[in-house]
Symmetry: C2
Subunit: 336 residues, 2 copies
């Protein structure tokens, strides 16, 4: 529970129960702290009172409502941070975060032992059997940061032979590198000035690292791309500077995939017009990619769980927040 900026407490609360016939209740196998959890933790995003935290989750289904048809107790499931019915026209087009029945932030309070998942049939994807323990972190990453990085790469139209630049070296940016590699990018330029993150970016498939930011960073990307800019740029920060850096690092006709939640961003229309880039992004429809990501993880083709560089028991969650706030950790996994 976040009580105020910087005041994160682990408390006993009533177990969640089935409230709607389309709900499921899951027992968490693991949970984690998201970069976006830091906005309220840092006081940049207001909270109205004590807020249950966490929206990334994997676990075993405990109970389902009477209308749930596909998800069954005992299954190991992965879900996403938006509950969606997965049957409406928008879901079928692959935009489950904009489902006509969506429930943003659902579940609220996944940094817990149990969580209620609305629209369980649409939201949850079961793994084929019970996964090995060592795959749990990667499946947990699929629930948000991997799915978001993957969407960014897809939105940026990464494909075979492309040159990709990645703005942002948080978990999403790093997993954008992994996604770009999987999608066949020829060259992947990670923009990072933090040595351990550069290292992880390289492990995930980055071919180049650029330490400069802003206009200098853009100039370096141009240097590396015959003066044209990258085909695809992944934006995983959400500030004015990072958005402009992403747009300016992209060649005319190229694609920006932006997934950093926009804070105080205002895009100059004339510059955007004359840039000739494609812009697509927003809250990632992680659900679209879950079946494919679960398969890749099960096949051990990818290891996105490496983004967790700090593991703590749930009751030490406050330490996990602090480490991420101070950039001592990329991402904290909480064992339940």
């Amino acid at each position: 529970m976040l009580h105020a900026p910087g005041d994160l407490r682990v408390e006993d609360r009533p177990d969640p129960t089935i409230e709607q016939p389309t709900d499921a209740v899951i027992r968490l196998a693991a949970t984690c702290v998201c970069g976006s959890d830091l906005w309220p933790y840092r006081g940049i995003e207001q909270i109205d009172g004590p807020r249950p935290m966490g929206h990334e989750y994997v676990g075993v289904v405990e109970e389902v409502g009477s209308d749930v048809r596909h998800v069954r107790p005992g299954q190991f499931v992965v879900g996403s941070f938006f509950a969606s019915d997965n049957t409406c026209e928008i879901c079928r087009a692959g935009y489950q975060t904009h489902c006509v029945h969506r429930q943003p932030g659902a579940p609220t309070g996944a940094q817990a032992q149990f969580a209620r998942i609305p629209l369980a049939d649409g939201t949850l994807v079961a793994t084929p059997g019970m996964p090995d323990d060592d795959l749990v972190p990667s499946l947990l990453a699929a629930s948000d940061v991997l799915g978001t990085g993957w969407f960014a790469a897809v939105a940026a139209e990464v494909g075979p032979g492309t040159t990709v630049a990645v703005v942002g070296d948080g978990a999403v940016g790093l997993l954008g590198v992994l996604a770009a590699r999987q999608l066949g990018a020829e060259r992947i330029i990670a923009m990072s000035r933090h040595e351990p993150r550069q290292q992880l970016a390289k492990e995930f498939g980055a071919t180049d690292v650029v330490v400069e930011r802003g206009d200098e960073g853009v100039a370096r990307i141009k240097d590396l791309t015959d003066g044209l800019g990258a085909h695809s740029v992944i934006e995983a920060v959400g500030t004015q500077e990072s958005m402009l850096q992403a747009i300016r690092a992209t060649r005319a006709g190229g694609h920006v995939g932006y997934v950093g939640v926009a804070h105080g961003v205002s895009l100059p229309g004339e510059e955007l017009f004359f840039s000739g880039v494609h812009l697509h992004g927003g809250p990632a429809p992680v659900r679209r990619f879950l079946p494919e990501l679960i398969q890749l993880i099960g096949d051990r083709a990818i290891d996105p769980g490496k983004v967790f560089d700090l593991t703590l028991p749930l009751d030490r969650a406050a330490e996990g927040y602090r480490a991420m706030d101070e950039r001592r950790a990329v991402k904290t996994l909480l064992t339940v």
Copy 2:
């Protein structure tokens, strides 16, 4: 020549000559006034001194420079408002308006009897033989407004079965309707409150007309699309209001193709993020589409020349500007 806002004069000037070995000089068959010519005419865009006007042209090649290989004197040609080499990596990707050797606004002064065209081999496309006189207006339209409306429809990913909304009922918006029809749209909603333009939109393929603007216009589009918004929206105005109207009328995962030259536009990052739309546009790479458009016009499959609702001889160009400025004409053709 535009001497000052509202002060348009027809004057004798020296004939253009070959300046670069890659140039051609053409004798205009017809020329016209562009909506974008009205920005300096209205004083919204500054001019530094008397400016030769016009950038839309069709005509017969008079002379070519020593390095011109493909274009020959005597050919009837259509070009675009950006000279491009059509061989660089950006041109080959279909973004000739961003050619690494591009010359914006080339030719300057196409509202004339003769014009110099830089990078003739890349910029000009010859028609198969001399076109019938009645096809000249349509070929002239291809040079800018048709090519631009077509690009907007392509940028908005119009395809078979899609619902398309068009913001802007100028020549570009109207030809965006025509393009959407050709690209297989199932439903085309023209946003217009001017009866003659509504009529032309219907002739070009509009299935619905919405007279409301702003939030009310958006609400009408939602009403017509099960509350979801259009799959594709063409923006052909370039103001803050029209851009927001376009973004808000588009469903999540849908596409905005924007070609109205942005004037004073600033896009709110957070709204754009949560809209989940694709955004693409800018100065249209008309050259990409010219071969296809010339073919469709030659086959009499399309009749974009209908956008010219006022025809005047070149020496009465000032009247043509005035009629467009006062919205008495959609677009003025000037005979040479």
